[in-house]
Symmetry: C2
Subunit: 210 residues, 2 copies
């Protein structure tokens, strides 16, 4: 409820132009909201925010240049008064955790009804936290990543789909070491394959970082 005061200024970041524009249309229907900027890449968020001074930024997680989590952190550092609402396709448990750690005020999946989005924005702007309850539960259940730093790194590199020899070369490790890290990751994820392990880790958002 705006109360007739100046509207809440919004920045939208999503790599899909159509979705971005559609969200802008949706939010512009609200009297108390106004979209002041749109970007399609994570690394454009901070520069554009500096120029347009939004009150709330809606960031997608999957973006070229810089993922939404990293963009959140960068934006919080650059403009501490600007709140962040992460809006993402995938309800990966780890995403939520990482987003909150990075300083986001809210986390919404694209499955949520359209009518709730505007309210989420208002709540975030008011300083409240907005989190999908079922997703929060999952996050608790999934817990923090059990993978060690090296294991994550190897797994992340393995996503590209090379042989052990390739990975060893890329990471400057012995093949045996790579195999061992992979084996450990497989064990910890409960998978039986390298491919499986990658999928599980990805679904839990354990492969995000740099």
């Amino acid at each position: 409820m705006s109360g007739g005061s100046t509207p809440i200024r919004l920045l939208l970041a999503d790599d899909q132009a159509l979705v971005r524009g559609a969200l802008a249309a949706l939010l512009s229907l609200e009297e108390d909201l106004t979209v002041v900027a749109e970007v399609g890449r994570g690394d454009e968020v901070v520069p554009e925010a500096r120029r347009s001074a939004p009150d709330v930024a809606l960031l997608d997680v999957e973006m070229p240049g810089l993922d939404g989590i990293a963009a959140t952190a960068a934006l919080r550092a650059a403009l501490p008064t600007c709140r962040v609402l992460v809006v993402t396709t995938f309800g990966r448990p780890g995403y939520l955790r990482r987003a909150m750690e990075a300083g986001a005020s809210g986390f919404v999946v694209k499955d949520t009804p359209a009518r709730q989005l505007a309210d989420a924005v208002r709540r975030v702007h008011a300083g409240l936290r907005v989190v999908d309850p079922t997703l929060a539960a999952e996050t608790l259940a999934a817990g923090v990543s059990p993978l060690t730093e090296r294991e994550t790194e190897v797994l992340r590199t393995a996503r590209g789909g090379g042989s052990v020899a390739d990975l060893a070369r890329a990471l400057h490790l012995s093949e045996g070491t790579v195999r061992n890290h992979l084996s450990a990751a497989i064990g910890k994820t409960g998978a039986r394959n390298r491919a499986d392990a990658i999928r599980v880790a990805e679904q839990n958002g354990w492969l995000l970082g740099e």
Copy 2:
């Protein structure tokens, strides 16, 4: 360009409620367009279309229940006068081909600027075809799937991530046969791994069918 006549009736199908609602908002801004139905599953398209009699249906490809391609075919069979515009996240070359074969009139990726969507809808309604030109080129380049029926089936099953023994049991084949089909698929896709082959095939839209 409505000309004051009755507006074009639209049906929206997308599994992400937020995107669906946002698209509705975007399209409702146009004088000559009206959204008469929204569904979140592929198998709800035909029943809902029967009830609401849309002129144009905007279908996502990735949907639960029935994928957008199959939904296109079903809709064309049930209501031949209703045109179909496929709106999808991924510009997989094979998707376009399959969509057109299934009777779609247009194919748009979610990367396209929001302003063009309404025009695409109007063109489709007017009986024209709408296709992303760069994507069309890719489709030509990628060509039709080189995979044989069995190979596709094996690869599709392998997506779940089981061992050769699992696949053999699921498909009632010898392990050697499964290995052979996989090997052939790996060769044809130019991959060096099973996982790689799956990715390539998926990216080209070769794993769609039933």
